[in-house]
Amino acid sequence: MSDHRLPERDRPWMMRTYAGHSTAKASNELYRGNLGKGQTGLSVAFDLPTQTGYDPDHELARGEVGKVGVPVAHKGDMHALMDGIPLGEMNTSMTINATAAWLLALYIVTAEENGVAESTLQGTTQNDIIKEFLARGTYAFPPGPSMRLIADMVAYTVERVPKWNPINICSYHLQEAGATPVQEIAYAMSNAIAVLDAVQERVAQELMGKVFGRISFFVNAGVRFVEEHAKLRAMGVLWEELGRERYGVQDPKHLRFRYGVQVNSLGLTESQPENNVQRIVLEALAVSMGRNARARAIQLPAWNEALGLPRPWDQQWSLRIQQVLAYETDILEYPDIFEGSKVMDGLVAELLEGARTEMAVVAEHGGAVKAVDYMKAALVDSHRERLRRIEADEQIVVGLNRYEDSEPSPLLQGADGGILTVDTEVEAQQREAVAQWRASRDQAAVDDALKELARVAEGDENIMAATIAAARAGATTGEWAQTLRDVFGEFRAPTGVGEAAAAADSDAELAAVRNEVERVSEQLGRTLKILVGKPGLDGHSNGAEQIAVRARDAGMDVVYDGIRLTPSQIAASALQEGVHVVGLSILSGSHRELIPSVMEALRERGVDVPVVVGGIIPEADVEPLKVAGVAAVYTPKDFDITKIMRDVVTLVAERNGVASAA
């Protein structure tokens, strides 16, 4: 036997596709299809109402039901979702955070009612709330109670559902929000510390080894795949160190850094979207090529994510990428191919040094929970720097700011425009279905269960037993979450934009726009004021934040209310604040319902100002939005934000009869 070959080829990682849409039944068909194609685990995408704890008939759910994932409102939906799938054998990953305890409870009850014991269940609940405050926005409760829910789940599963990963610490979304590799490592590790510290208070010390061993990570990998691989090696080093030194973990099995991955979506382009395929392949290499830091589970985005929702065929293509890597290439035949590499060791050392410094800063703020404001502002700044480099051509993105000329793509020429559209009837059906569910259950049992849930929430007992009992009784997602909202209170996370540093003075383009803003403001009599808002439940606020910061740097007064706004909230803000223009951002695909609702709400209040929209808006939807009164639509290919600002000033000048500059 030689030491440059493995005696036996490694088993491939678990292959998943992040999937779910429309209804539990439709998603179940999709899952069964994917499993038939060789997928080895499930990755459930829930829709935003489910993720944020609202039933399909809640006002905030409007336009969002079944869009970015599957709606699961009660145990009946979970039964339909998992129909025919052997829960005792399946490994199910759920992208669920604020409502993780509830969805796990529904999963446990569904298994139980199928005769499968909870002790056999395998899978992962994402459950990393800090990154929701930082980057993803599907939080429901304030930080304190949120951390308690997580700790309760860890304490429960470690004893009762031992093969479950109760939390997946996510660095994925940090990179999507603009994190540098150093920030990604440091903030993820700091988040892990916050969780472990919270759990330590709620479990016996002798269980900490087991607890540590059940914590897994969910990471990102960008196209700079060599450095990205080094990042994962660095995380492994830090994780082991943390276990040994901070939590006294001894067992090497418990100390191993385990991670799943979804590779980068931020770098995927709307222009020449076929280029995304090679980006995805390279990113997949970052997490698979070095054996010492190889992913346990991989899910790849689809080539057309920047255009809209992927179709089953698009997802199949991504699965096939994994299969080619695992079954055709030779990467699984060797021991770690970077051992002894000067380059790799050097990169790892560099990242470790940076990450340790940044972790110390977070610790100085009092840990990750207290440092949310700091980290959020740092991410907004990093993202802005990234955009600046792309705008200034310092960072090349093929097909976006270099080699932009392209033959027409045959991939986009089908009748569907190359994306999936969710039937708008789905929402109405789900609204009706949940009402029927409520009408058909034993209401007294539900009331009792929710009362008990409230009692437990007010005290200090583990929340899981009462949650599972409520699931069993037939309570809904919205009822569970509302009960806890009533006890814990609601919360709005920091937006990070207030603290963002000002732009460099050297930017000539921006300076020119600033002069124009000043000129128009003088004519208007007061400073040009813009409202930047995110209607709906979509928490991906990076784009809106960058617009808000740039608008400020261009000299405008900016009202940014953050995420999760109803159309009437946006209209009320626009009216009360006296803004000259409204900018809306939506990435969840709910623009077809929500934008017209906002326009209507503005009209009702007599607010007659131009509205511009940005987000993942398929070409086919642009015209209808304009018919609804939208002045301009921007999509990911409009990467030059300063230019958007110039458009906005011009628009305001035109609408207010301010003459254009001589």
Binding site: R492, E518, D557, T566, A571, S573, G578
Partner: protein, 312 residues
């Protein structure tokens, strides 16, 4: 935009006039109309001082002002009182633009017509009040039950807010010794109500409250110190409202508002004509003495015009 008409709507208690009122007072090119508006809500037209309780809420960044305000607004609305919040944000000096983020932290029901929130950039006057904010407070006081002026910082802003507000509440978090230092050294004027947030911190908050109480007594003030927590379940909010109401009840409103109008007139004059203009009046002291002799019921633009007449 017709200032007199807007003033009439405010006099009639029409809260929906508020957005247009703010658009007007913020308009630098509409001085004449602003004067007409303020004239229309002057004590002579109202038959007395405007009904609202003008409350200044100020304190250092991170003290929990917005979260507390959120709870206060909720409680005031529950008690049937209409509320206007004027949130003053510091601007970015370099670009002249500003991110007005406080609104996001104040929870409000968009269908509730009894609540109005407007954010304004301080306009480069660090910690100070924009002229528009003063005018807005004077005007909205004719229609709303409560007008809140929220500013960031300790020191200058608190002094300027005190000129306009009937009652000033300074918000501090436990363990902020700087506030104590500011008070003792006289950098900061003694507030009417001192609010210690984060009462959920227990012992730390209690100790902070004790220390501040002792300090206030040693300074000879009659400041109420109230401990609140905005974290669910909120506590101390009713105590705070009672403390604010009590202060207002003991106030000689006519005297306070007259002083506020005179201070605003001088501030507006200085904003318009600069320090040089003030020197031409013989300095601040002389200008203030001159204003003292004017009719107590005169509105701000009338007083400002009188100062301008004096200068000419």
């Amino acid at each position: 935009m017709n200032g007199a008409e807007l003033g009439e709507r405010l006099r009639d208690g029409d809260l929906s006039a508020a957005p247009a009122v703010l658009n007007l007072v913020e308009n630098r090119k509409a001085r004449g109309e602003v004067a007409a508006l303020l004239h229309a809500v002057a004590p002579a037209r109202l038959g007395g001082e405007a009904r609202a309780h003008i409350v200044g809420v100020t304190g250092p960044p991170g003290a929990g002002k917005s979260t507390l305000l959120s709870e206060l607004v909720r409680a005031w609305r529950a008690g049937g009182r209409s509320v206007a919040v004027l949130a003053v944000d510091p601007s970015s000096k370099r670009s002249g633009g500003a991110l007005l983020g406080d609104r996001a932290r104040i929870a409000f029901d968009p269908h509730d017509d009894g609540i109005f929130i407007r954010s304004t950039a301080a306009g480069g006057r660090l910690g100070g009040l924009a002229p528009a904010t003063r005018a807005a407070a004077h005007a909205l006081a004719a229609a709303f039950d409560i007008v809140v002026i929220e500013t960031v910082g300790v020191g200058q802003s608190e002094t300027e807010v005190a000129e306009v507000a009937d009652t000033v509440a300074v918000i501090v978090q436990p363990g902020s010794g700087d506030v104590l230092q500011f008070l003792k050294s006289g950098i900061m004027e003694i507030p009417d109500v001192l609010v210690v947030t984060k009462a959920d911190l227990g012992e730390i908050a209690l100790r902070a409250r004790r220390d501040l109480n002792a300090a206030m007594r040693s300074l000879g003030g009659r400041t109420k110190v109230v401990a609140v927590s905005s974290i669910a379940p909120p506590s101390g909010i009713e105590d705070l409202i009672a403390a604010l109401d009590e202060h207002r009840d003991q106030l000689d409103l006519r005297k306070a508002r007259t002083a506020a109008r005179r201070a605003s007139a001088l501030a507006d004059f200085a904003a318009e004509h600069g320090e040089r203009g003030v020197r031409e009046l013989g300095g601040r002291r002389a200008a203030a003495d001159f204003l003292e002799q004017q009719d107590a019921g005169l509105d701000v633009p009338a007083l400002t015009a009188a100062l301008e007449g004096l200068r000419a």
